[in-house]
């Protein structure tokens, strides 16, 4: 391409320029027209809307995005708002617990499923079906199960165990664990499927070699198989992580941020300020913070996956 362009320019004159234009714009025309929706999506939504959001987060827009530039004022207000700070703390605690437990349980279940067991597909069906359900459905079912008067707590008390307490969704200090129970219920099966695919991808020869060397099974998993599954692990972390940052529907359905504001999350903060709080600048500043979080997670991953190509393989 570059060669021909140079050649055309040597020809000089308007004819050469026209040839260059044709080369750049008309070459491969049907493909470019066909890819127009993708190009438009990338330019308008993924680039354009992101820049728009970041720009207007520096304005004092309230009901309409027309405010004037106020620098970091929205961000200062954001981090002075207890609701936002609680949202961030919640996301960090929930996110850390959810990530660690999803990966651990997913891996553990995958290892168990990989022991040439019977009814493997039945177990997989049982573990994965929650993943097909909406977060709203998940949240509402668990809300009912954890209902303090008529759910598990009420049932056990009626059966005679009067000291039984399981009021996590009504208890500000425990509500994140209630969220966790529902979140794990939906997500662990998916993680298990990913991990199982990773385990099955490990060469049998590795296992034979480890056995001949007399390495105990658990040691083989921890020291040999897990490092070999690096790709799957990284993918799982990225997928689970980006899901956690997005956490919204589940909270809306299970607790709606309550009791009080003890289970608020950033995505809900953004929504509330944009669409019912009438403070767009504030919502956009919160959205920009979410974007920043994802960039902080994604850049090291992208670097490891694509930047370090020269190092690996």
């Amino acid at each position: 391409m570059a060669d021909t362009a140079v050649y055309k320019e040597e020809g000089a004159g308007i004819a050469g320029q026209r040839g260059f234009l044709r080369k750049t714009f008309l070459h491969n025309m049907p493909a470019k027209i066909a890819a127009l929706p993708m190009v438009a999506t990338v330019l308008v939504v993924f680039v354009g809307c992101t820049l728009w959001t970041v720009y207007y987060s520096f304005t004092n827009s309230r009901l309409l995005p027309t405010g004037k530039f106020v620098g970091f004022e929205q961000y200062e207000r954001l981090f002075a708002t207890s609701r936002w700070n609680i949202s961030v703390t919640n996301l960090i605690s929930y996110g850390a617990m959810s990530l660690v437990l999803t990966l651990t349980l997913g891996f553990l279940l995958a290892v168990l499923m990989d022991q040439k067991i019977r009814f493997e597909s039945a177990f997989r069906t049982i573990m994965l079906y929650p993943f097909a359900l909406s977060f709203i459905v998940t949240g509402l079912v668990w809300q009912w199960i954890m209902n303090p008067t008529l759910g598990l707590q009420g049932t056990f008390r009626n059966l005679g165990w009067t000291g039984f307490t399981f009021d996590w969704i009504a208890n500000p200090r425990m509500v994140l664990f209630a969220l966790l129970i529902a979140g794990l219920w939906q997500g662990v099966g998916f993680c298990m499927v990913l991990m199982l695919a990773g385990l099955r991808g490990v060469d049998d020869e590795i296992w034979k070699a480890a056995r001949i060397d007399g390495i105990p099974t658990w040691r083989t998993y921890v020291s040999i198989v897990l490092p070999m599954m690096r790709g799957v692990l990284v993918t799982a972390v990225v997928l689970i992580g980006s899901g956690i940052v997005r956490l919204y529907d589940l909270v809306v359905a299970l607790t709606n941020g309550g009791p009080g504001i003890s289970s608020e999350v950033p995505a809900k903060y953004v929504y509330n300020y944009m669409f019912s709080g009438g403070n767009i600048g504030q919502g956009l500043a919160a959205a920009t913070m979410m974007l920043l979080t994802v960039i902080i997670i994604m850049v090291p991953w992208a670097y490891l996956e694509f930047g370090g190509k020269g190092r690996r393989s």
Binding site: M1, T24, H27, N28, P30, A31, K32, A34, A35, P37, V39, T41, V42, V45, F46, V47, C49, T50, W52, P65, L108, L109, M113, K116, I117, S121, I126, M127, Y129, P130, A132, L133, S134, I136, V137, L140, V141, Q143, W144, I145, T149, L150, T155, R157, N158, W185, F190, D204, R211, S242, R246, V252, A253, P266, V270, G283, L284, A287, M290, A302
Partner: protein, 311 residues
């Protein structure tokens, strides 16, 4: 396990001549302590996964007095469809009291066109990215994939303004547009990887024979990509059906999908809550993805794992 296999493999060598020598691997007892542990852990987890499904269905068949008696484990005394009828036809979902059925039809009206449009566009994208690369096409693709990890909240307000400018805000078209946009990264990745795995000779031969962009797409690529279409279909139908955020922001009150109406039934109900109706409505909302899940089986697994396959 493989040790016994190796020994078994060696056994016939040593045992040549004597006909009574047992062959094959030594039969293992089924109830080894190891197996008992494995199965008990798996069964324990199965209870955790199955319990909500049981509770949902059992509660939906109970009457309110039965529920107030307070045993969530109990089977319904008799199968009672009243809650289901009420959930479908007459429970209040915010402004109106027509049950979940309008929400169901809204979800159908959103899911079908969104699925078709998003899959078609993504298939064309994938095909263009593999066979008709143009300057910058890989960069666009990279941004597309990176963009899929950005939280939707970042795009929400600008998209509201764009759809307002297009005069489709608060209509089904707006939701369909948004689903098409946000389905594009994963689906394009799916189709790109699939088309890249097809033999390039097919495409080249068609080019030599003078077929153009669309002809090759419709007559060669599409007929060969049925499996990936099914995977994309499962992914999109369940994903769009389960969506809450886009429905609540872009659809407008008249067009709220089933998930939004379900949440309204339970969380903004006035008066004393009817748990049996709530659970019947929940089962009804979960039914479509569940049916797809149980019918499609392994294809669903392929669909959800598709996001994990890097290209």
């Amino acid at each position: 396990m493989s040790q016994t296999a190796i020994m078994a493999g060696a056994a016939p060598e040593t045992g040549t001549g004597t006909a009574v020598e047992p062959r094959g691997p030594r039969p293992k007892p089924f109830f080894t302590p190891r197996k008992i542990i494995i199965y008990s852990v798996l069964i324990l987890f199965s209870f955790y996964f199955l319990f909500p499904l049981y509770v949902m269905i059992a509660t939906s068949f109970k009457t309110m007095p039965e529920i107030r008696f307070g045993n969530i484990f109990a089977l319904p005394q008799q199968i009672n469809f009243d809650a289901w009828v009420r959930a479908w036809t007459s429970v209040c979902t915010g402004l109106t009291c027509e049950g979940l059925s309008p929400g169901f039809w809204n979800s159908v009206k959103i899911t079908i066109p969104s699925t078709i449009v998003s899959i078609f566009i993504a298939a064309v994208n994938g095909y263009a990215l593999v066979n008709w690369r143009f300057k910058g096409s890989e960069i666009f693709f990279a941004i597309l994939i990176f963009g899929s990890f950005i939280p939707y909240q970042v795009f929400l307000y600008p998209l509201v303004m764009i759809t307002r400018e297009l005069r489709i805000f608060g209509t089904l078209q707006a939701v369909i547009l948004v689903h098409t946009i946000f389905g594009m990264p994963i689906l394009t990745l799916l189709f790109r990887n699939y088309f890249a795995s097809l033999p390039q000779e097919l495409f080249k031969a068609a080019r030599v024979d003078g077929a153009g962009f669309w002809r090759i797409f419709f007559e060669i690529m599409l007929p060969m990509s049925l499996p990936i279409f099914v995977v994309a279909l499962i992914l999109q139908v369940t994903g769009i059906w389960n969506d809450f955020l886009f429905g609540v922001v872009f659809a407008g009150t008249q067009n709220y999908p089933m998930t939004v109406q379900l949440n309204n039934i339970v969380n903004s109900a006035q008066g004393s809550p009817e748990y049996n109706v709530n659970m019947a409505a929940t089962v009804l909302t979960g039914l479509v993805p569940l049916i797809i899940y149980f019918v499609s089986g392994k294809l669903f697994v392929r669909g959800v794992a598709a996001g994990a396959v890097k290209g």
